[in-house]
Symmetry: C2
């Protein structure tokens, strides 16, 4: 039977191929090369392509020296790790959190302390208890449609965390790549809105335009950014200005806003298909209910591990991701992230029904 | 007087703005997006854009898993430092060498040992003496039109160094960004030709197409590259495929070969202008005589330091670079790198005559 099934991947948070704005990017890069060709092909400052920095500064009410552009936002975590972390320094993250950020923090020998994440954001008591033990260099937090859970932090918790950051003097590293992708409900102020002096805000065009442009953005303290820019210069002299020029034209001409509407229209039914098929096929599994973004997540019943389900899923040609990679210090044995954006509603329904079969196989074994 | 003079920069190795192939890159990126649009905008493997890897593999008689593409070649030094260097490990470089490579090696707490560079390559006795004390993890070497000196390593020395690498079991990290830019004389085999099992060969399109595409290439051991690819993935998931697609079309359609001929025609007279104006204005200064590339270098007479000349040059609106940054462990007080590619022959002649005035001012003070 398995040979007849096409492969379904619930693995990484990949945009749908059909969402990628190839034609609009063709126009954008032509115009960009007409207007800024030499700048896009030459060396530039480590801070990135100046017209895009200016556009981002104006859009966010910042000065240009508060905007730094990199080759994708993951590398911002790398640069900030170089800046902030000496071996053994403490970093807080949500528990669970983005696995690739954890890999980088551990590469820099940080001591990562996970703060239990609830459906409305980090558990504040757990945060206060952790703060009684350590003041972290920063708290890495994805408040909107979190990776891997899909959870969004409530306004009340944002205010409490911002107040704790002020009181204890730690940085909030706010990662917001999914924030523009709200399908329903109301947007909360960002940490950068609430505590601009204590927040470094990062996002990327990866989930909006496409990963291949590798254009990440860091907003915040000009003083910290100057140090990050020096680390960036020492690493790659300057980022890939060729793609940044195209991104700039895409933003400046209003294509970005249109693109965000298009992909919300594409992705919202995919999240709904996830929720519906989980209600149908997996009524007893604990599931998050995101209002946007790329991910939802499941917690299997007691005794059913991700590892066992992942193995069992293979015979249904269903690929699942390790759940434990999102947990900095163990745990997550029953956790599964479900990235839905790159799958059609039909594939999602098919995938969830295969998942239900795999879970039943594990329970029966 | 100084206010009347335009500024002349003998500072960094920047391509001439007029060399940047804006129109040809417009055609290349259009065709690339037509043929590979989704691939250029999507995530890909950490190894880089597959069609460009295939083209490079075929051009160099390698398998595709021996080709890895990064966001500029400096980052290859960073990735290899992550791979090879534990704090205190020994790395050899030429003395002097590329300052930005030194910055990265030191960021990884390598112990850098400089091997004295002569006009025909590293001093072999010095290398043998250093090898009696340490076996380095690798010897970072720029054999063709070296940065910062412009020196090219002779065939005889290449053979000796390759034999020593085999005997002592160290890697040669061969950096070849200037190798295609030979204005006269005959090309020698690369270290990668002579000792393919002991050499990791890196180069970039920075000095050929333009820095803004940030496309560096590492060729060599599939086993080492697999480890570098994992480090790259952990750092930025995948490199900027958008620009790599354009570079691929530029290469595939023969534009790269035409571009190399164009810039050799542009740059050769600039090197000649350097040599001529030094013969005219600075007959007593020790100068290298490169046969290609981006740099030549000077050693000032006893008692005349780079720092003093750099300061004195300011009143002539002449910007010079620090010489000592190219020396890993001190020295270089009288050393000056002269990058000539971004200046017209007239500017070069003017710049060298200003340099001569600055040196005279220092000697008279």
């Amino acid at each position: 039977m398995s040979n007849e099934r096409s492969v379904i991947n619930f693995t990484r948070g990949v945009p749908a191929n059909e969402s990628l704005p190839v034609t609009a990017m063709q126009s954008a890069v032509q115009a960009a090369l007409d207007n800024h060709g030499q700048t896009m092909l030459q060396y530039g400052k480590a801070y990135g392509f100046v017209p895009l920095r200016e556009w981002l500064a104006e859009s966010n009410g910042l000065s240009v020296d508060q905007v730094l552009i990199t080759n994708g936002s993951l590398q911002i975590v790398e640069f900030l790790s170089y800046h902030f972390i000496q071996p053994g320094d403490v970093i807080f993250t949500e528990l669970p959190t983005y696995d690739r950020a954890l890999t980088l923090l551990k590469r820099h020998n940080a001591k990562v302390v996970g703060i239990e994440l609830e459906p409305d954001g980090p558990n504040i008591e757990a945060l206060e208890q952790a703060l009684a033990q350590h003041t972290p260099k920063f708290f890495y937090i994805i408040p909107d449609f979190q990776n891997p859970t899909g959870a969004t932090c409530s306004l009340e918790k944002r205010q409490k965390i911002a107040a704790l950051a002020e009181k204890h003097g730690f940085w909030i590293l706010e990662d917001g790549p999914y924030r523009p992708l709200r399908f329903q409900g109301e947007e909360h102020p960002s940490f950068f809105d609430l505590a601009p002096e204590r927040t470094l805000h990062m996002f990327a065009f990866t989930k909006l335009i496409g990963p291949g442009v590798r254009t990440g953005v860091l907003l915040g303290s000009a003083e910290v950014l100057a140090k990050v820019a020096k680390i960036a210069e020492n690493t790659y002299i300057c980022p890939a200005l060729f793609g940044q020029g195209a991104v700039y034209e895409f933003c400046r001409t209003g294509e970005l806003d249109k693109q965000i509407e298009r992909i919300k229209t594409l992705y919202a039914p995919r999240l709904q298909a996830c929720l519906d098929s989980i209600a149908e096929h997996l009524p007893d599994v604990e599931a998050t209910r995101p209002e946007g973004g790329f991910f939802m997540s499941l917690t299997f019943p007691e005794g059913v591990t991700n590892a066992a389900v992942r193995e069992a899923a293979k015979k249904y040609n269903l690929n699942l991701a390790d759940g434990q990679a999102f947990f900095p210090n163990g745990g997550g044995e029953r956790f599964l992230r479900l990235p839905y954006c790159a799958l059609s509603p039909e594939e999602i329904n098919d995938g969830v029904s295969r998942l239900a079969m795999a879970i039943r196989d594990v329970q029966a074994s």
